[in-house]
């Protein structure tokens, strides 16, 4: 039988209400793990990015630790990180549910990527602005919140959507510890006897749809944020208007 014959013969048996329900729950799990992991990861990454700002953190050792954190979690493959979190939680006898392990691993990985992204955003603001604001006796945190962030969040936001997208794809590796997300669901359906063409094909289509929606949202956001007026208006001209 050719591939198409297999798909056509099995499709009515595959696309039943219960299988579709199972796949949609799995899709929800994928989204929950990646979105929750990204949210926590972004909070952690923001902390790491601010901790390495010399204007905010006078202690060199803490800055170095923040850089080390980023370099370590950037350079461990997600699969190894996931297995490490999984085995560490067993080792510490935490009995953490699988989704907690999945979210933790995604958050750790994301914190490194987010810290780099946020640092890049901070660097778009010239250091002279920091100096000016600090000279005017503003608190460093006020400078960050009132001067730097209002200018840099437009640079930070669009790549972060790309990061969520890449995490949606990375969570496919969480299937290895048995968390029921799309890939694991496809694997289970394959083991129930459905054709791998159909199960993994459906998984690919589901991932594609989610990523496509996210990527379109990211592009829309980028267009919207980059075409609007700049935050700081140019100083009023001393010359009379023509």
């Amino acid at each position: 039988m050719s591939a198409w014959d297999i798909i056509i013969a099995e499709a009515p048996r595959f696309f039943t209400w219960w299988n579709l329900r199972f796949l949609f729950i799995a899709l929800g799990n994928t989204l929950i793990a990646s979105v929750a992991g990204c949210a926590i990861g972004y909070a952690l990454g923001f902390l790491m990015a601010t901790l390495r700002l010399p204007q905010l953190m006078p202690i060199g050792a803490v800055r170095a630790a923040a850089i080390l954190w980023v370099e370590i979690f950037r350079r461990i493959p997600f699969l190894v990180l996931l297995l490490l979190v999984f085995f560490l939680s067993q080792f510490a006898k935490l009995e953490a549910p699988l989704w907690v392990i999945a979210v933790t691993a995604v958050a750790l990985r994301m914190s490194a990527l987010a810290a780099e992204n946020i640092r890049g955003g901070f660097e778009t603001v010239r250091p002279t602005q920091w100096e000016a604001a600090l000279t005017m006796n503003l608190q460093p945190w006020t400078v960050l919140g009132r001067v730097v962030l209002p200018q840099s969040w437009r640079v930070i936001l669009p790549p972060s959507i790309v990061h969520v997208l890449s995490m949606v794809k990375e969570t496919s590796l969480v299937s290895q510890i048995g968390f029921i997300e799309i890939t694991f669901a496809a694997k289970m359906l394959t083991q129930r006897g459905f054709s791998a063409l159909l199960t993994y094909g459906t998984a690919l289509v589901l991932y594609f749809c989610v990523s496509w929606a996210l990527a379109s949202f990211g592009r829309w956001l980028e267009r919207r944020l980059t075409t609007r007026r700049p935050v700081s208006r140019p100083a009023a001209s001393l010359l009379p208007a023509p």
């Binding site: 350079r75 493959p77 299937s175």
Partner: protein
Amino acid sequence: MILQYGQVWQYLPDFLLGALTALWIAGVAFAGGLAIGLAGASALSFGPWALRALVTAYVRFFTYTPQLVQIFFLFFALPEAGIILSPVTAVLIGMTLNAGAYLTEIQRAGFASVPPAELDAAETLGFSRAQTVWYVIAPHVVRALYPALSNHYIIMTLGTSMAAIFGVEELTGRALNANAISFRSVEIFSIVAVIYIALTIIASALLWLVGRWLFRVKAKVF
């Protein structure tokens, strides 16, 4: 429970050999991806609309779906269509196609960095399209994109860890084997994590040196 690294050090030489496997898998897939990417980026820049649509569809498909599921599809679904791949072949094909899609996107951005005057000059000199791509555009692309390309090579080196899922005995695969024998999971995977960190730092440093000497790229790779 205490961590006992003493039982695990014996696997270290085995792991280091596995790291070499990871490096060559990433290298082969990266080279293949670079070639696909150059062809894809040329097609996107100069091809007829049908070819452009085809390349766009390819790039979209491979960048919007997880590499793991792509390789699952190659490894488990293609046998039903009569194509049987060995684990290493399936991983290599999957990673190459995946890298090709990303590197098409990256190189297309590099094509835009070529000054139009040089393209005009190439046309005046009677260069063919292929010659223009190879002699005029490629050097620019390499220089402008060297940091992005080396970064992608690092990402791919990390990505080889998913070959373990298909039974390829690279670094993570050997770690899973050692784990199955000794049950010293935390010890083994922490060592493996450190090897990956060292491996990618060495690779980054080498890429930085190569970029410095061969292409005079001053941008930082780290």
